[in-house]
Amino acid sequence: MKVTLKVNGRLRTADVEPRKTLLDTLREDFLLTGSHAGCEHGVCGACTVLIDGEPSRACLMFAVQADGYEITTIEGLAPAPGELNVVQDAFCETHGLQCGYCTPGMILSAHALLEHNDAPTRKDIVEAISGNICRCTGYGQIVEAVELAAERLRQTNVPRHVDGTRPNESLGDSTTTDAPKAAHTPHGARR
């Protein structure tokens, strides 16, 4: 089946079998190998990507299901080539990674948290990364990294939404947002 996916703000087309996961399509068809294949059944979180801004497991979605969504991978997070996003930078600074296998998933989960909460408690952070397994650094420095990123975000002079939320967060009750949506956040750029 032919699918056209919006990945990191660009439309990409691939011809895939229905059984091919979004993860395998990102890695093999689009050569976006920053999303890592770990357990491939939704336990480890190494394949976490953002779908319409929300952390989701790329191994738990088939590519044929993913058209129309805004898909953000770790490659789409940095503001410009050679630069790091604030969360990536904080991970480097606090030694929040060692082998790096879980790191893209950790960073995207943390990024999604900080998009709607730039003053998270330790509990919020632990909850946000609870679906991401790290087997070497340990979680202490990862939590520290997210705390540091949050602190820097609070200090930056960047306007945020009036209510502090992302556009897709304040959901009307009878009209919860439908799946595919128009672009809302420029990839990499913080609001």
Partner: protein, 293 residues
Amino acid sequence: MKAAPFEYVRPDSVAEVCEILAADEDARIIAGGQTLIPMLAMRLARPTKLVDIVRLKELRGIRSDDGAIVVGAVTRQVEVERSALARRALPLLMKALPWVGHPPTRSRGTVGGSIANADPSAEIPLVAVTLGAEIEIENSGGRSSMPADEFFIGAMVTSVIPGDCVAAVRFPVWSQPRLGTGFHEVSARQSDFAFVAAAAQVVLDEGGRCIDAVLGLGGVGDRAERIDVSALIGADVARFVISDLVRSATEHMEANSDLHVSADYRRRAAAVLGTRALGDAIAEARAADGMAQ
């Protein structure tokens, strides 16, 4: 960890979904896919056809209707968590949702999917059974509904037959003022499958007497069960020993043993967590009225 081949279809209406399901009994519905896709990856399930319903608008949304909150089957769990209406009207469900998977699975997992999957340890079916929710089912004959208690039969077994599609879950709303809820769970790690989970909801009158109380337990046997706590109704909660009531109601429960914990453990945990959940619910109901603990 790759699924076996299947055909993928995305119909435009529930009617069409039911038609496809009725014509091919090996076709399966996919919504959020957070349980089904691992099963496909491990080849525990090998459907011929996946029928994707997750974008059907008629199955989506949270609305208030005649003393109930109706949650469309493909409403994602995260949407319920963020819904102001659900927060006001379904405090017990709101307490249970953080225990459902992790944020990245709640962002795709749906309410109807969790119901249709009928995992004995799942939190949403537990809340549905505890509150006496109705499950709305659509098939070629139209829409009908069934109490959660009849819908769930056993572990991953429900009353749906080929051609049926879970369309919505109708949670009753308790609108009395002095209402409290409690939810407790024990698992190996946060967000893992519950060994035992307990959900309770209580309403008190002005004098601290119990007007209504329900308690449900999940993960103990093959499906979530409602426990008889009617002895509490009419009683002055300040003088009532909940632990005795819950222990006697749970000591002969059918419980499963597995490699994690024994049936005995599950019964003991059921008594303890059931007591805590009811205790929390009572404390919350008392606090809602400014009554001293």
